[in-house]
């Protein structure tokens, strides 16, 4: 009963021109063509998209959640990267 496992793919859809592809879900497919067709059949049944990407799940490299502090906290103190850090008098108008 040791059936060979069919690989997992991640599906990304561009819903409208001008928008980025967004992750919508996963599916199983033996090859890339099958994955693309399955993505079309499974994830665009209600007009959800104009363009599809499928990526083998195994190809994705993800950051480690336990690295969260090291990876993402140092940015919190760099408030000078945000426009609200700088003072401009109101009468100067919108800048």
């Amino acid at each position: 009963m040791a059936e060979q496992k069919i690989p997992l793919w991640e599906v990304f859809i561009r819903s409208r021109n001008g928008l980025a592809h967004k992750h919508v879900g996963s599916l199983h497919a033996a090859d890339a063509t099958m994955a693309l067709q399955a993505a079309r059949d499974v994830y665009t049944r209600r007009g959800e998209g104009l363009s599809l990407w499928v990526v083998p799940s195994a190809a994705i490299v993800a950051s480690d959640p336990s690295d969260k502090e090291v990876m993402f906290e140092p940015t919190a103190s760099k408030i000078y990267r945000h426009p609200t850090f700088y003072e401009v008098p109101d009468d100067v108008g919108h800048m």
């Binding site: 060979q4 069919i6 690989p7 997992l8 991640e10 992750h23 499974v42 799940s57 993800a62 959640p65």
Partner: protein, 334 residues
């Protein structure tokens, strides 16, 4: 549903002792703060197990649920109904697919989960072990079974586990037409010939009590509820959801001019709820234990489909390997 190849079992080894307790405490604090848990995050093994069980049961229910309704696709009485029913049952395949994917993020492969179902080690919703005997059953399933499912699923959109919550959001969005198409079938039958109206009444008579059982055992007997509530997997108790369903459904049934098969059903003005009679929990236990009218038939159909498709899945994998081999060979030859 998430960015990991999860066909393989994950290698997390639970650490016993104070460190484990501290982690569990931090985990609970995140849940209490309404943070979502994501696949790569640390989680207690029991949380992982509970969710894997619940999500895979949910997926199995969608897949087994295709069978009773699928019965009527070829017999749907108009082309409009045929298209709607086929699209609905197809949606259920999609929902099963989303849910298996969500369960896979917890470290079990779809193949393993399906094997559990086919080997009889996994449960699925008791409701799909009842037969669909007439076309009105398709109306009743849409109206009542999908109605009950929505009651259950809407709170799950806020479940603490991110992939499950996201799958449920998609499912709920797609399912919004299911209950309406069911109710419309019932409405058409109730406005039709006396035979059609009798068909609708008979369907309500047969499906009403099993639908109330869909919410699971009464709170006094529910095994998993307390911990699931603390983990924010479950937001309402079985009895709360059941009451909500009855309150929403009884006026809809009266609008159809149908009678609920419960002499004790009465409106409690003071409480603002419909009070209903005693549920036959022995029937529920028997159906869960495999003794419902269709348990064996449903499992046989699933096993047959799985076995009949084995050579196809094998061929697809064999061909993919051949293609990959050829693609590797080409640059060398060039």
């Amino acid at each position: 549903m998430y960015t990991q190849a999860l066909n393989a079992k994950d290698a997390v080894v639970p650490v016993a002792g104070p460190e484990e307790a501290a982690r569990a405490e931090r985990f609970q604090a995140r849940i209490d703060a309404e943070e979502r848990i994501e696949p790569n995050d640390w989680m207690p093994e029991a949380y992982r197990r509970t969710l894997t069980r619940q999500i895979s049961q949910h997926a199995h229910s969608e897949i087994v649920g295709m069978l009773p309704e699928g019965n009527w696709i070829t017999r749907a009485p108009s082309l409009k109904r045929k298209a709607a029913l086929l699209a609905k049952v197809q949606d259920e395949a999609g929902h099963g697919l989303y849910l298996y994917a969500a369960a896979e993020t917890l470290g079990s492969s779809r193949e393993e989960l399906v094997d559990q179902l086919l080997a009889g080690r996994a449960k699925y919703s008791s409701i799909f072990n009842y037969p669909t005997l007439t076309w009105a059953d398709i109306g009743a399933i849409g109206w009542l079974v999908d109605g009950a499912a929505i009651m259950n699923q809407i709170p799950l959109c806020r479940c603490s586990y991110g992939p499950y919550a996201r799958a449920m959001i998609r499912v709920c969005k797609e399912e919004s037409f299911h209950q309406r198409q069911g109710y419309e079938i019932m409405l058409t039958l109730c406005r039709g010939t006396p035979e059609q109206k009798a068909m609708a009444q008979d369907a309500l008579d047969r499906w009403w009590w099993p639908c109330l059982m869909m919410f699971g055992p009464p709170d006094s007997e529910s095994q998993h509820s307390d911990q699931s509530t603390r983990w924010k997997i479950k937001r309402f108790s079985n009895d709360e959801l059941r009451q909500k369903f009855v309150d929403a459904t009884v006026p809809q049934g009266r609008h159809l001019g149908l009678t609920f098969p419960d002499p004790d059903l009465a409106y409690d003005e003071a409480a603002g709820h419909w009070r209903f009679g005693a549920i036959d929990w022995e029937e529920f236990r028997q159906v869960l234990a495999g003794n419902g009218p269709c348990n064996r038939q449903r499992m046989t159909q699933r096993r047959d489909a799985h076995a009949a498709g084995a050579w196809v899945r094998e061929a697809a994998m064999a061909h993919a390997e051949k293609r990959a081999r050829r693609a590797r060979a080409v640059p060398e030859a060039a």
